[in-house]
Every structure is written in structure tokens, then in C-alpha cells.
Symmetry: none
Subunit: 224 residues, 4 copies
């Protein structure tokens, strides 16, 4: 069941579609369909059809639905999550702005490699009742998160971080600001006066908002 995660170990290109085995192709299809219609809304038959195999074949490789979800979690999502968190370097911990910058960049890179990530993350991981939640809870590097939270608290005491924000919520906020617009991408496209919207625009927007806020110069008197 173990697989080396070629995709995230290096910065490697994905291997040629031809050389991928059926197993990988099934996982690809599952990932995409799960992102598109939700896990509960996707049948094994749909995955099989999309990947050009019979549904019996899906059972052959993964045993059952649960086994497929396990594989998706372990072989596709866990590496992505690891990759994202590996992005917050030790040196960055001392500089809150770097924490944000590096984390945002890792998120965007992960999404680049796996476009289904934002939707799976918001639907199946973040949500209680999400079908990948339990499976990934153990894979999220809680101690890493704790380290970052501590670093932010320390910086807050030193006065380099906004004293009003709540350190434990920061990483969630970053993920939210980066991932959710991607999820809603096409919805935003419906807005009439929407200008060109791409990952670069999103990156600048997210960094500016997270680091300096909407109205940085403004005095802070009337806030609540």
C-alpha cells in the first residue's frame, strides 16, 4: 500500500501519463471526481469509467470504498500537506512576515500541482463530517502547528505582531484567504466588473491583506 510520493519529494515534473499504472490513474480520477462532486456524491462506477477500468478493478486495487479513501489520503493528500507545512522554515519562525510569505507560497505551489486540493480541503477535510477528516487528522503535523503558534505568540509579546490577532487562528486564516477564492474561482467570474483574476493577483492580495490589512494607515480608534 505504501507508495513513494514522487510528486512532492522533489520539485519533479509529474511522470508521463503513459507510464502511470492503472492504480495511479484510478487515484487521479478519484481525486478529480471527489473534488468535483464531493466524495459522497461520487460512485465507484464513475471513478472506474473515468479512469477506463471496470468497477471490479477498483475493488481489486483498493479492496473497498474505504480503502480507496485511505489511499487518497495517504498517497495523495498527506504528501501535499507535508509539503505545505515543510515550507515554514526554522529561520522563518523568527520573522512573522516570512512565516506568512512562505506558507502562502507553499499553499499556492501545492495547489499548482494538485488543483483539486482547495475543494477537497474545504469539503472533505475541514468540514466536520468530511470523509477525509479523520484520516488526515493524524497526518497534520500538530506539533509543527504548535511551534508556529508559539513563535507568533512570542513575536506578539515582542511587539512585532498585531496584539489584537489570535495566534492559534493565524494559520487557518492564511489557508482560508488563499484557498477559498480558488474554490470559488468560477463563481467570482460571474461578477460583472471582475477584473482578470489569476494566481498572481491572488498571491499579492493575500499577502497584502494578511500582512498589512485592508487599511494599514488608518488609525485604530473606532474598532468595535
Amino acid at each position: 500500500m505504501k507508495k513513494t510520493n514522487r510528486k512532492y519529494s522533489h520539485q519533479g515534473r509529474p511522470p508521463a501519463k503513459e507510464s502511470e499504472g492503472r492504480r495511479e490513474r484510478i487515484l487521479d480520477s478519484a481525486l478529480t471526481l471527489f473534488a468535483g462532486h464531493g466524495i459522497a456524491g461520487t460512485t465507484i462506477a464513475q471513478i472506474a469509467k473515468d479512469s477506463g477500468v471496470t468497477s471490479a478493478m477498483v475493488h481489486y486495487y483498493f479492496g473497498n470504498r474505504e480503502g480507496l479513501l485511505d489511499a487518497i489520503a495517504a498517497e495523495r493528500l498527506a504528501p501535499a500537506i507535508e509539503y505545505i507545512w515543510a515550507g515554514v522554515s526554522e529561520e522563518a519562525l523568527a520573522e512573522p512576515r516570512r512565516i506568512v510569505t512562505e506558507f502562502v507560497d507553499r499553499l499556492l505551489e501545492a495547489v499548482e500541482k494538485m488543483p483539486q486540493l482547495p475543494q477537497l480541503w474545504s469539503r472533505e477535510i475541514l468540514n466536520p463530517g468530511g470523509m477525509l477528516r479523520e484520516r488526515l487528522l493524524t497526518l497534520v503535523p500538530l506539533e509543527r502547528l504548535a511551534t508556529v503558534i508559539s513563535a507568533l505568540s512570542l513575536a506578539q509579546q515582542k511587539g512585532t505582531v498585531n496584539p489584537m490577532i489570535s495566534p492559534p487562528l493565524v494559520m487557518t486564516s492564511i489557508m482560508a484567504v488563499v484557498m477559498l477564492p480558488i474554490t470559488a474561482w468560477d463563481m467570482l467570474g460571474k461578477i460583472p466588473i471582475m477584473p482578470a483574476l489569476d494566481k498572481e493577483v491572488l498571491r499579492h492580495h493575500a499577502l497584502a491583506l494578511l500582512l498589512d490589512g485592508l487599511c494599514p494607515e488608518k488609525s485604530r480608534e473606532g474598532q468595535q
Copy 2:
């Protein structure tokens, strides 16, 4: 099929439980179960059982599954969305900070009244493939959104709004920062050094982050 939306039209108390008809009870159950297991993961029989009726009764009231979703969208979610957007007052448009503050507060009030909102929003509305998306797209006040975006752009030109942010993404960012942590509430609880986390903490965090950023005083050189 249309119903007045007693809940959000005024600030009125919800009507006495007794007076609610079966129809409303079915909608309540549906809303909660949809939020908990996703729409695709919820059967009519579950909703029927939870609301103490037979599943034939659900069909009697709503025709079919689609009809139930229509009703949930029109009678429960549309009013909530209307309520949220109604919060950005005309006067606020001139003051970006007020836009944010009022919007955040409306969001939190809406969640207070309908705790299922964050999960339904991220799963079934925001996500492409979400089963309420199409139904609500027409109900989102796009012209209102356009107005706000224009106001933010104008303020940006006047120098009262961070020139690096992207106005069309602002409202999405606000919703993300407020709603997602609520969705992930219990997940965040698993973090060891998590302090007390409640709506008030979230409100201050969201407002501080959105308005002033994580590191407001810092110079802005390293931002690449």
C-alpha cells in the same frame, strides 16, 4: 411553495416551536443533516426520521429531492444571505473599515441564528459541484457586491485602502476568515496549546487581521 422568511425579515424572535408546522421541522432537520453529512450524504429517510415524519411525507411537502433543496435554498439560505448583505449600509460604503466591521458582524449574527451556515456555505455553496450553488447564484445580490467592489476601488484610488489588495477578492476574504474557523472549530480544539476559542475571540481576530494585518507597524520591504 413560497414562504415568508420570518427569521431574517426583522430581527424577530423565532416563532414558538409549537406553532411550527411539520414542513418547518423537516426543513430544520434537513438543514442540520445537510450541514453535518453533506447533502449527497443525507437521505430523505434520515431527514424524515429526524423530523418525526415518514419519507412519503417529505415528498408530499416538497415533491421530490430537488424540491426540498429548492426550499432550503429559497426559504432558509437566501434570507440569511440577504440579511448578511443588507448589513453593508450606504453610509458604510464611504468608510472601508466600516464595510469590514459591519460585514463581519452580520456574518457572525447570521451564524448565531443558523449554526449550520458555515458548513453549508463552504460545502454546498462555495464549492463548484456544491448542490446549492446553482440555486443560490441567482440569489446573491451581485449588484450589491459590485457596488461594494466599486467603493473599495475608489477608496484605493484615494489612498484609504491598501493599494496591493484586490477589491473583488475582499468580500470573499472576509467570509473566509470568519466562516472557515467556525467550520473547523472542533478540529482546532485538537491543537494542544489552543486557548479558549469563542465567537468573541474570532471576531477580534478577524477584524484585527483584516483591517490592520498581521504586522502593521513593520516596514514593507521584504514582501517581494
Copy 3:
């Protein structure tokens, strides 16, 4: 799930086929098919077809395969078993010959009413791994059996019962001698010089063999 067992409570005729509900008809079909092909060899679809319903209907009435087996055990076989054991009267306990006679007669009456009994008994109840075994173990009146065994032991001490037999095996032996030939009925029919074989012949054979043995007059020297 409880049903009065009309069939065995009195000596009543079975109710008219017409008035039986679908549920009963499904149980009838199941009983017959289970006896014919074994439980493991019978599909729900076969039962459904035989009883003129859809297989979804079988699930509607019994929940699942296990539920159907439960119903067969509780509503059909348990009453038959009760009926058989109820046949050994209190007065009979003092007279070993009456125990045998009454038990044999009850067995034959039960088979008369439920011709599937011998096959189900030998395949699915008696056999370890039989699918009704666990379900019926609790229903067999063990204390009644114990009473009979005690009575036989006592009679053995008084000299009215063959001192060489083993009382705990007696009831099993009786059932075996009566039931197994019925199971193998058609097989026996293949034997060339087989005379007319019917229940009456079987009854006399069983009683004679069980009570007096094959060679009653013979001295008992060579028996090692």
C-alpha cells in the same frame, strides 16, 4: 417482529393460501428454497421470484438476509421445535416406551405440517456451521431435554431401559432414525428392490428398531 404461530398453537388447519399476507408467502418460499438448496445456496432474488415479489420487498419486510433468517427461525422453526418437545408428556416420563412413541409421533406430525423440516434440521441446525444453529440453540428446550435424560437414567437403574445405551444420546438417535430417511427419501427410491415406502412404514420401522432393536430375541454374547 413477533407473530403468533397459528400453525402449532392448536391443531388448526393452515389458513387459506389466499388470506396469507406477502410476508408469510415470502417465509414459505424461503423455507422451501432453503430446504431445497441450502441457505447459502439460496439468493434473496430466488426467494422473491418464487413468492412473486421483488427482492426489494424482501428487504422491506425483513431488513436484510439476517433478518429473514431470524424470522424463519423464530416464526417457523421455533414453533415446530416447541411442538415436538411439548409432545413428551409428564406421564410418559415414567414409561420409557411412551417417551419414544410420543416423541416419534410428534416428529412425524411436525414433518407432516412442515415437510421442509428434516432437511433444514440436518443441514442448517444440526451441522456446525449451519446457518440456523446459533439462532435455535437458545430455543431448544434444554431443561426439557435434561428432564428426559434424567428419566431415562432412572429407568436404566430400575432395569426398564437397556443398560448399554447412553441416555443423553437417545433423543438424538430418535430424531436421526425418524428424520434422516425422510431427507433421503428420493435417494432410497433409487434402490431397486425398495418396497413401497411411506410415513407409516417409517413409523413402524423406527418404533420397532428403537424400542426392541433389530434382533431382540438373540442372546447378547458377541456384542463386545
Copy 4:
């Protein structure tokens, strides 16, 4: 496809486990699993796993499921049946008591060598619908059975056999009294006052019951 039946042709020891080929090991597993869960309840994959081969291998050796059943019947059960019937010697035919004694002993010896026999016999051979029935019907020495029946009839005319018993049913009765308690062995163990029960006890019980009956001294008037 034919194999010499080493096990029953002589009194030979079973060959060393090592020298048995895979084919024999598959048959062993099949025999045991068939006895345990019934033939219909046993899959080829289970047999393969139990015998340490792949299920493709089972097909390689036996062609298909039917072929495996053929082999079980021809190579394992037929020899056992032959062995049992070979036990009724020519000399015994003149003495009914010897017929019984020798047949009982052969049955017990056969069971000793093949503990799965009683269960397979009652489930899959004796029962109509039993999956080995057709295959073994031709293998049962019908003419031998006819000979024995004739001998018993003759003895009955001569007065050395109970005139009330039915000669064609005698051999079935013997098998029933010997085999069925073995099948139900563990079930009998559940009975509270059950004394030690082993093959020797069973042998004496069966012989005593079959030869002399439960109440040999009793007068034979009330037997109706």
C-alpha cells in the same frame, strides 16, 4: 484426473505431509471448508488461501468449480464409501448382528480417518440438493445394498430379525444413529448433565440401541 485412493485402498498410513502435492493440499482444504461452511458457503478463494495457493491455481488443477467437486467426490468420498461398504463381509450376511456390528465399526473407522465425513454426508450427500449427491449416487454400491437388504429380509422370514422393522431402511438407520451424533457433537456438549461423550460411548450406544432396542425386556403389546 483420476488418482489412486491411497487412503482407503489398504489400511495405509497417510503419506507424509511433505510429499503431498499441492493438489492434495487443495483437496484437503476443500474437504475441511466444505464440511465446515457447506459447499455453497465456501469460495474458491477461501480454499486457495487455506491451502496456500492462488485461486488461479485451483482452476489450473481442477478446471473449474465443478471439477473440484468431481475430484472431491471421486478421490476422497468415493473411497470412503467403498471402504465402509466393503466392511459387510460375505459371512456376515448370514448373521444380522454381524452386519450391524461390522457396518458400525467401518463407519467409525472411516470417520476416524476423515473427520469431515459426517457433516459432508448429512449436508451434501444425503440431502436432496446436496451438491455431492448426484456425483455419488452412481458410486454407492447399490447392488451391495440390495444384497444386504435381501439378507435381512431372509433373516426376517427365518425369525432372526425383528419382523416389524423395514429391511430397506436398516442401513440408513445405522448410518443415522452413528453419524448424526458426531455431526452434532458440540451441540450435545451444551447439554448440562451431559456425561463424557466419545467415540467409544457412541459405539456402545449405537450397537445396543440398534441390536436390542431401548427396552428389550418389555413385552411388545402396546406398540400400536
